[in-house]
Symmetry: C2
Subunit: 250 residues, 2 copies
């Protein structure tokens, strides 16, 4: 299967590596406005009029640029998909066959990702295109799901909690430790195990800590220790939410 990658940010870079590692997929070209200095890549162009023939064109650019960019493509009747969790399939120009190829993962430069476990969420307007995209995704991942735009939106929203918000809690804890010259690295094994537990326990059962124990003494001590208003606010809101959740169950 021949693929053209449109854009070369984090998602695109990781996709190119995943496709290159598989014999049945070939990235025939990368379109990138900025120059790409990397070895072992497919040909890179910065001219949309030079786009090669491919089975799938994958737009991997920032969410708010997708709509306009898809209109600017000099393609007609081709399968054009994007990789965003939050942009509707309808944002893509109708002059091409539209689809979604959304890898539900966070990608950073310099960290390799095992694509075989990454859920890839597929959507297409035509059945044949959906089959083709499922097959393409199946080459690089063992976790391919067909979901519609509404479900994808919900998935993306849930991902904000476990990724963006969780990461912010990491930062808050780093700030709290810094006040007493304690190193954030002390928390790393705990961070990994908290995430690792989700492999075998539902989050409701894994919940521990003063909030779920209704240990008001410790909660009061903690609130007294916290100097930063935002930190305090987060502590209160999450403690209240934990207690409400676990109160309900009794």
């Amino acid at each position: 299967m021949k693929i053209v990658l449109l854009g070369y940010g984090n998602v695109a870079a990781h996709l190119v590596h995943a496709f290159q590692a598989h014999p049945q997929t070939e990235v025939v070209q990368i379109f990138s406005r900025s120059s790409v200095n990397e070895e072992g890549l497919p040909p890179v162009t910065n001219d949309l009029n030079q786009l090669k023939e491919a089975d799938v064109y994958i737009i991997a650019i920032s969410d708010n640029a997708i709509k306009e960019f898809s209109r600017s493509l000099p393609l007609q009747g081709q399968l054009v998909v994007h990789t965003s969790g939050s942009v509707s399939i309808k944002s893509l120009s109708a002059k091409n066959r539209r689809g979604i190829f959304y890898p539900l993962q966070t990608f950073s430069r310099g960290r390799s990702v095992d694509f075989s476990t990454v859920p890839i969420c597929i959507e297409a307007v035509q059945d044949g295109d959906q089959q083709l995209l499922m097959e393409l995704a199946g080459f690089i991942s063992e976790n391919v799901v067909a979901i519609d735009s509404k479900q994808r939106r919900t998935l993306h929203l849930a991902a904000v909690y476990v990724n963006n918000f969780t990461n912010h809690l990491y930062q808050v804890s780093e700030e709290i430790l810094a006040q007493r010259d304690l190193d954030f690295s002390l928390l790393r094994p705990l961070i990994l195990e908290t995430a690792g537990k989700m492999e075998s326990l539902p989050p409701g059962e894994a919940q521990t800590g003063p909030a779920v124990r209704k240990d008001d003494k410790t909660i009061k001590k903690h609130l007294k220790l916290l100097r930063n208003k935002q930190h305090k606010n987060i502590y209160k809101v999450l403690t209240k939410s934990i207690q409400r959740n676990h109160g309900k169950k009794l």
Copy 2:
């Protein structure tokens, strides 16, 4: 080194296994009020008057029971430590030599923990005891630190954010997905990678998502999608805190 474990909850069970795996440490006895049905364990007693001789007595019971329990021990001049992150060393009865042996990790039944990476936080009143505890911890972990009660309190508070609060965000996301019949397992690879990033990136640099991008359009869409008041509240507070943090840096 001979150890008596006082209590047999999650922390104690994991400690016993770690000590048993090391040739230079021996758990000579476990004290437990409730009966313990497990094979390959050291002798278990439920009678405090039958406690054996040991170099260290480790109290691993719930936080709010430590003070009274340490007073009830029929020991004098022995090294008695507890494993809690939030209880002061002064809560231990002064009739014995007091110390802290706090493994900074979350322990669940049925999940084995690699103790070699777990930070063990040591505190003692006497220098000799501190050395002994550092040595004992060093047998099972490569990550032993001496920290005082104030630092330990701060560490425990920070741990609440990365463990208890993070786990609650997992639960919130599970609830959000359930509304559209989506399975929580879809988020597992993302959860693991969000945590895994902390091995190589500081949380401030790893921050992504609509809040840090100041993508008001997506934020508004998300708030509209959220029906649950608590979920909405958490979204707002964390988004505000992310934006405040990252605004500061500009």
